[in-house]
Amino acid sequence: MKYSWLEVFKAGFSGQKQWPAAWPEVSPKAAYDVVIVGGGGHGLATAYYLARDFPGTRVAVLEKGWIGGGNTGRNTTIVRSNYLWDEATNLYEHSMKLWEGLSKDLNFNVMFSQRGVYNLGHTLQDMRDIERRVNANMLNGVDAEVVSVAELKERIPILETGKQVRYPVMGASCQPRAGVARHDAVAWGFARAAAKHGVDIIQNCEVQALDIEAGRMKGLQTSRGYFKAERVGCVTAGHSSILAAMAGIRLPVTSHPLQAFVSEPMKPVLHTVVMSNAVHGYVSQSDKGDLVIGAGLDPYSGYSQRGSPHVIDHCASAMIELFPIFSRVRLNRQWGGIVDVCPDACPIISPIPQVKGLYFNCGWGTGGFKATPGSGHVFAHTIGQDQPHPLAAPFHINRFVTGALIDEHGAAAVAH
């Protein structure tokens, strides 16, 4: 079924109760051409673009829990493309362009809202970095501007712009086309569109071993039996090292819990996204009305989807200093997701040289949600043609041998 206002109107006659399932429950086949491990946004997007752009390819997505239950459903949904280096900017801007047409393309409202993102500066060095990044963005054709304190005061009246605080705001960068999207809708939209193109989405199916023979992918052992597949794409975020170990390799990533929390729903009070690397925190208001606040990484490795309390304590103090009006807002929920952090704060989108037919898409760390459509698109082409998509080529795993890192710590670190 194609979703449209007409269908909503027609369903009104039966009290909106006759909607068919968005995608069917399938019985798994014994063999696939490509198996994607991990049913997060990136995995589902990969499957969608593979099935759409390489018709006839039998594709399955294996997810150990439920789709979107990983970082896709746990993130603070900021979407922007104002990175520093050409390689990263090109990749994230490719994604931004896909976001701009995504709801139409998927026939599913992903609630992409280009409400702008502000990155605050609190020191002279912050401001120099902001100017440099804004200039780099403009040279790459990405919208960006430097915003003064006076302008900030006008545009975001509830932001504390006075001098009496510990770290006064000195200015900001702004990307007007940046914004937020609805995380669950992204997972469901890609799943539905992928299923429409014939992709089997298999949940509650944990991959437990990779069957590799003479350096070639043969299949996967899972909690729901064995699947034959000569091409396997692993898109498992925080658990990428676990999958890599099944292939006998190690990755340049370390897994950390990353936390976020939301307040009780309120009337509209913040119409844009505000982030600060220096005081460590960022905030937006969801369409439901809750403040969505993101904190930092636990400073040591971890796989507990929980995180340390002192990290959110630190973030909450920063938020109150930036927005004194929030000081009496009650918080509703807090959670953590496991993110896989790369030494250069850039992802790995790559065939694995040691195993023919094995590909990894990981290392997105704290900031991969914004890349969901672009990542899926270039990874699908990397697998479909068995050679890196031009935008993915700089993110080959070989850069950790050659040393050609893409150092995005400045633009990626806290600012997801």
Binding site: A245, P252, V253, S255, S304, F400, V401
Partner: protein, 90 residues
């Protein structure tokens, strides 16, 4: 949040006094190593789920480096040891 017993100060202190310096006992390859071996040494990590053996520094205390054996899912600490104690064992 957890507490770590510093083997040098002999006190159980809050984790925020310490700094984790990553996986312990990473062997530096010889100068005649290949680029692959060097890349593996500098960048690749085992990153296990469950028991990890890490080096921690008591950075807001005695500033000494030692080894913590920890479960990185539950944050249970199995053992806190000095580097010397591993040498004696070997």
């Amino acid at each position: 949040m957890f507490l770590i017993h510093c083997p040098y100060c002999g006190e159980l202190r809050d984790e925020q006094e310490y700094r984790c310096a990553g996986e312990a006992f990473i062997q530096r390859p010889g100068l005649d190593c290949t680029d692959e071996q060097w890349g593996d040494y500098v960048f690749n990590r085992t990153n296990p789920k469950g028991k990890v053996i890490e080096q921690w520094a008591h950075s807001a205390g005695c500033r000494k480096l030692f080894v913590v054996e920890r479960n990185n899912v539950t944050n249970e600490i199995y053992a806190v040891r000095t580097f010397e104690s591993y040498k004696e064992q070997a």
